[in-house]
Symmetry: C2
Subunit: 456 residues, 2 copies
């Protein structure tokens, strides 16, 4: 009751419609795409459109000790935006301004804009924002920054943090602070901009970001190859990345190949154990030279088929097939979506170990991977109506993370820890780094109102 | 007395020779290249060679509340390694191991290795570590990471933080913690690796770093142009960076041109107001195309002379001239070395404003710049024996920072805040960001033993 009257107080402080308590709407904000079964029901959803409104919300939340779960487009896969009982969800979806400056090659963006919308807006100025999570058409730029999102082009172009020059964040107590700005070099004070990137809403709410942009991506030459063994594909990856910088180096296993072929009927080799989709976007003839080199490496590694194209549409069809792998496998059942990464030499061992885990627990686990940076997405297929199978899937989910850590890897390469992976974080980081995470969290959010239960 | 007996206690805990109290040696560690006149005399210099020894030092320092000033090669220009009375200097110069892994294209390096030594060691494996501060032959990799150092190639290849995948740091209480590792994507927990990069020894002591490496840099095509006006050169910079990605885009003013020509006699145009040294290292013919494009832009912007070369030695001669500008200007007197940066469109205004400051205070101030990223090094020439002139130089030093901040810029692009620039930090960051810096510092170093007086 006290909480609901507090919510009424907040609503009175904000423009009409910003605070939403309609139960149906509120219910639709309980979960993100991780579909966390432990999701609570929030008191309200708050959808501010200005930094000052976010400040009002956080001042109010601090005074009333009410938990705030920041949320972008709700496409997170680790439960970073799972609502909590007695808290509110702060959605940035209404914050959608963008200003592009072609002279400094930067854009100032509010967090609610989708990644694809950012790409489109800057493309109108002949510029390119590289980070390209597979969900780029539906995920928000604010969520990308909160999770330090990756994508397919990272193997050459790096991850989200590499494109963040500045931020405005609202802290737990409602203070708005500007960090960094449109300067390519700036070492004044601690690297706080970088600290907030990837903080998953636990340290503050991002209300504005200054992004670094690049000239347009040159057309890519694409190479597609199929293999009879995962090891052959993985060894080709090592050869390639130790010599050149491909703009894409993606892997799909047999399950993913067949799932995509079931849906798209594009003539993929259903008998293959692995398929690689590689590209080079180097300008001029060197792009084609790199593609030729990769085709040669694939062939020498034992590719059963290898196909190269400099035609962008043809290339894009294979990239689209790779992007389609997750929805295609999802057609087979519900997915527990993994995001483990390893140093490149351990890639084949990781994939083999995942196959063992799948066999042991009688599960289908398809592996797709941003192979060039060692980041894999094992897709654990299960039927939520089958309690025993769901439990086996959960066990496999944890065992895959344990395996990655045992191979010197990470429990999450680009999706974030959220709530689903939190129990495994300490196993990767160790007690000292965990304690350091907690100290930073306590220093910036002493009452623990920001995204409680996530990450730390 | 208590302090000296504490030092004896520390010496007893460490191998012979690690703790140095010889007054002559200790005196040589009082200052870095900033030659901070406020430097104190430390109790001792400690030169550990292993992480465990650094832990011993910091545990001891915490117990005895003794200040620790971490020091790399002592080439810092902001007084980040200025010794303090009653404290110790912790030099990482003996920590010089490196292991290169060509397969993952990473190197694990101890902090005492020089930047040039890292470049050389990885080059033996056909790899390249890009960051290239002008002092690369004498500065340490640990110092580079502590200051998030820049250089000439940053305009295309980014700064030090972009190459740091992992760190081992020893915290104020002696705890050793590993952050990140040899994984290109890793979002498990807060971005603490990035927080320590650029922290200037205020949060911990870096004892090991995992660096990301690239394939070798292709040979560059170089373009040199001279201009009758700074504005013409600056407008060419804007045109170039809004269209292509040069691998170098450097600026020297008339004073620097003449100072270099005095020493090197390479036929530079002494009458020019500005000289640009630009390069493109794109592979294949596109590098030459970019060089041609830049030459055209320079000419159209009004260059009085423009010279292009694809010969690496010829190109390197001009780059060496640019690198030699600081020592050449230093021949005219002592230097107060600035490091201010602005968003690119403000570059000409910054240079003009600096000329006004020079005129007003009757000083010679030469401006050289990493023009492509808006980072300038105004060199304030003064005679330390002339008290009035020294005072005017100090006033100009501050006014240049105020000017940069008023243009939306930074007081330091790549050298760090250290002690010399600390009074201006709040003016740039504002009270909210300053408070955030202080909170992080207090959380990680509650007793303030790490590099007290620097940055925050």
């Amino acid at each position: 009751m006290a909480a609901m009257s507090a919510v009424a107080g907040l609503a009175a402080e904000l423009p009409d419609g910003v605070v939403v308590t309609d139960p149906d709407i509120v219910a639709s904000y309980r979960q993100d795409r991780a579909a966390d079964p432990a999701a609570g029901t929030p008191l309200a959803v708050v959808r501010p459109s200005r930094t000052e409104e976010v400040q009002t919300v956080l001042r109010w939340a601090s005074e009333n000790r009410i938990a705030v779960v920041p949320r972008g487009a709700g496409t997170g896969l680790s439960g970073g935006a799972t609502a909590v009982n007695g808290g509110i969800v702060l959605s940035t979806e209404k914050m959608r301004d963008i200003t592009v400056d072609p002279v400094t090659r930067t854009a100032v963006v509010q967090p609610g804009l989708l990644n694809a919308e950012v790409k489109k807006a800057v493309a109108e100025y002949g510029l390119w924002y590289p980070p390209d999570p597979s969900s780029f058409e539906i995920c928000s730029i604010g969520g990308n920054i909160a999770t330090n999102a990756g994508g397919l082009c990272c193997v050459k172009y790096g991850v989200t943090t590499d494109y963040v020059l500045g931020l405005q964040v609202v802290l737990a107590d409602g203070t708005a602070v500007r960090l960094g700005g449109p300067r390519l070099k700036d070492v004044a004070g601690l690297s706080l901009t970088k600290l907030f990137v990837g903080s998953e809403g636990t340290l503050g709410v991002i209300t504005e970001v200054t992004l670094r942009l690049l000239p347009p991506q040159p057309a890519a030459c694409t190479v597609v190859a199929t293999f009879d063994s995962v090891e052959a594909a993985a060894s080709a990856v090592l050869t390639i990345t130790s010599r050149i910088r491909p703009s894409m180096l993606e892997f799909m296993d047999a399950v993913a190949i067949n799932a995509v072929e079931d849906k798209l009927r594009m003539g993929l080799d259903r008998s293959a154990a692995a398929m690689m989709v590689a590209a080079s976007d180097d300008r001029g003839p060197t792009g084609a030279e790199d593609a030729e080199y990769m085709a040669r490496v694939f062939t020498e590694a034992g590719a059963s088929e290898c196909f190269s194209t400099a035609d962008p549409d043809e290339g894009e069809a294979f990239v689209a097939a790779r992007r389609f792998a997750i929805p295609a496998v999802e057609a087979k059942g519900s997915l527990l979506l993994e995001d483990v990464g390893v140093p490149l030499p351990a890639l084949a061992e990781l994939v083999a170990g995942i196959a063992e885990i799948a066999a042991e627990h009688d599960l289908t686990i398809s592996v797709i991977a941003h192979a060039g940076d060692g980041n894999t997405h094992p897709l654990i297929v299960f039927d939520p109506a089958d309690a025993a199978m769901s439990e086996r899937a959960q066990i496999a989910f944890g065992e895959i993370m344990d395996l990655a850590v045992s191979l010197g890897g990470t429990i999450t390469g680009e999706h974030g820890v959220g709530r689903l992976k939190k129990p495994w974080l300490a196993g990767q980081l160790g007690p000292e780094a965990m304690e350091l995470n907690r100290k930073i969290k306590a220093a910036l959010d002493p009452d623990g109102i920001l995204n409680p239960g996530a990450v730390v």
